[in-house]
Point group: C2
Chain length 198, copies 2
């Protein structure tokens, strides 16, 4: 016996999510059948809403309900600093620390010659445009510490520095609370390189 | 900064699913934003459909699109045998082997004095009703090999046997392809108890 059509379709939908295979999708589908009507309705509505009500900020590329986003339109923020990240969720993570008061720029990806992603395929032209127009004095590169992230940071640095704008990179080193014993070699190397005088 | 309202709602919805916490829900929500419109629409539709288009078979309690379900209404099946399971997904699992040709009965739970689940709270009365009406000669108890599953099987056995109906239980033992080395004691005990002459 096949699963009834509605269950089979829901299993297929769950399998579109990352890290969810056939078995987990089946478990989730059967759990969905047992969930309250209101909860499932709300789930379906929130799925549609996230596609319909969200857009990308035309200034910084962040996900937002209104364009420009509430960070770009916040006049109390420091407009002389732009922090460049790969993805919108990086903005959310950085905003959680409630310390940074400058602006952001979301690249929506990284340079990757292997996958054919060049500067024009991610939000680099709009970043350069912003540097021309605005009173920016510092660009903080916060791409991830991966090969592509580092290469993208390097590329941006060479592109921006000649314009006389200060370019910085987030510090890499040991996580707060982590054991040296368990840190990987590259992190340790970065931690030694970036040591500070006490 | 909080997540924009639509993302926060979707994260909350994902967190209603079993085994999905804050971090996974957030990852799934951001992945949803990047998914194609059609895929998300189909996901939302299949969620609603699974609640709207599925019902429980009034005869056996299985999940079905039509009542009675296509197993109960299949006249080619052996109506003298009823296989009792805990949940609809157990029916799907058993049907996959394409060997059993009798009927099913889904209890939708097990007896559990700890949680106050008595015979009236699960589909036991409807099972007894079927035994009165139908030409049933054998009831196969396929509740899970847990404490509650075993207790439910024992309870049903004592209830049904006096009516002169044969009551059997699925064999417990080593999984096919498994190593004795890694089997737990209870499974090994069941395997020895249930040994067969070659």
């Amino acid at each position: 016996m096949q699963y009834p059509e509605p269950i089979a379709r829901l299993i297929a939908s769950y399998m579109n999510l990352p890290g969810i295979g056939q078995k987990t999708a089946t478990r989730l589908a059967f759990h969905t059948i047992d969930m309250k009507d209101e909860v499932v309705n709300e789930f379906a509505k929130s799925l549609l809403s996230v596609k319909r009500d969200l857009t990308f900020c035309s200034v910084c590329g962040n996900i937002t309900e209104e364009d420009p986003c509430n960070i770009c339109s916040d006049t109390t923020r420091d407009r002389s600093t732009i922090l460049v990240v790969e993805e919108p969720k990086d903005v959310m993570a950085l905003e959680k620390m409630r310390e940074y008061r400058g602006l952001y720029h979301v690249l929506h990806g990284v340079l990757s010659p292997m996958e054919g992603t060049g500067p024009e395929d991610i939000n680099i032209p709009s970043l350069i445009q912003r540097l021309h127009n605005d009173e920016v004095t510092e660009v903080i590169l916060a791409t991830n510490a991966t090969t592509e992230g580092e290469a993208t940071a390097m590329y941006l640095s060479r592109l921006i520095k000649p314009a006389g704008i200060k370019v910085t990179r987030l510090a890499h080193g040991l996580s707060v609370g982590s054991d040296i014993e368990y840190a990987d070699e590259v992190t340790l190397l970065k931690a030694v390189e970036g040591r500070r005088e006490l």
